[in-house]
């Protein structure tokens, strides 16, 4: 498993597409894909949004993520770094962040490589750059 993270607009999708030798548009889009398409896909993007969609559909994102890591350990996951702000007043937003953070930690824990993108530059923060 490989986790590619970083802020918005830092080149995560391009890096993932280059890594998989495919077009960025062909990656499984966590914002709009069928939830059933996630297990078994080569790369899921916007996992932080997928977490919200799982919650909206009454699915525990932590359990979903643990199962994904267990059953599909070759998945590449792209996920925004979201934690560098004020903890929001809205309870629903707090629960989403909590779930996103926990899922991110589970994915990172199961990944041999974690890459943080800054200004289009991949920095390996766990393992070796592929």
């Amino acid at each position: 498993m490989i986790l590619i993270t970083g802020g918005i607009g830092q080149g995560k999708h391009k890096f993932a597409a280059d890594l998989l030798h495919c077009d960025a548009n062909s990656l499984t889009d966590g914002c709009s894909c069928e939830l059933s398409d996630v297990p078994g896909c080569s790369c899921i993007t916007d996992y932080h949004i997928l977490v919200r969609r799982l919650m909206d559909n009454g699915i525990d994102p932590v359990g979903f993520t643990e199962q994904l890591c267990r059953e599909y350990p070759d998945t590449v996951v792209v996920m925004d770094e979201i934690g560098c702000g004020i903890v929001p007043l809205d309870r629903g937003e707090r629960i989403w962040r909590e779930n996103t953070g926990r899922c991110g930690c589970i994915i990172a824990d199961n990944s041999h490589t974690v890459i943080r993108m800054v200004c289009g530059i991949p920095i390996s923060i766990k393992g070796e750059l592929p």
Binding site: G6, G7, I8, G9, Q10, C84, G85, V118, C119, I121
Partner: protein, 173 residues
């Protein structure tokens, strides 16, 4: 030599940028991009002027249309900051524009004519907030500029409370 300095707000990027040019022997030019709108902007500009005082910079104010700017060859340049430049371009009229590629090209062109070129930018979009369309577009446009400039830069530095973290290249001694 093109250096891009990024980091969150108020993390010491300006001082780091000035320090990189401290021992530059030739003429030094400061390209100021912040428009003096309001009390806070004026205070920030005053503060940066005080920080630069006595460091030998000539100031050129350029808030938009960076492609119009030409600078003498082989000077030292500090451009501050790309975040302002992007906002000034995007929101200068009623209709939002998408100037990322044009701004990045202008920065890279200036960077290549200078002997030493340092551009300061901003790291935004890591706070997990879903902003309205204009702000969301701004975050993406700034990300595109930063990535394009970084790909041509010799050095890319992330500043953390004044501490330089090298993302690309080597920090000069």
């Amino acid at each position: 030599m093109i250096t891009l300095i990024t980091g969150g707000s108020k993390c010491g990027k300006s001082r780091l940028a000035e320090n990189l040019l401290e021992h530059f022997a030739g003429p030094k030019i400061y390209v100021a991009t912040m428009q003096p709108f309001g009390v806070e902007a004026s205070a920030a500009i005053d503060r940066h002027r005080r920080l630069r005082a006595g460091k030998g910079f000539d100031t050129v104010e350029k808030y938009t249309d960076l492609h119009e700017l030409s600078l003498p060859d082989n000077c030292g340049v500090l451009l501050e900051c790309i975040g302002n430049l992007c906002a000034n371009e995007m929101f200068r009229s009623q209709s939002v524009s998408y100037p990322a590629e044009r701004i990045a090209e202008s920065i890279i062109r200036l960077g290549r004519t200078a002997a030493e070129f340092v551009a300061v930018t901003n790291q935004v979009g890591c706070d997990g907030i879903s902003y309205e369309q204009g702000t969301a577009d701004y975050i993406r446009q700034l990300g595109i500029i930063n990535s394009l400039v970084a790909s041509e830069a010799d050095r890319v530095i992330e500043c953390v409370y004044g501490v330089p973290v090298m993302l690309k290249g080597v920090l000069p001694c």
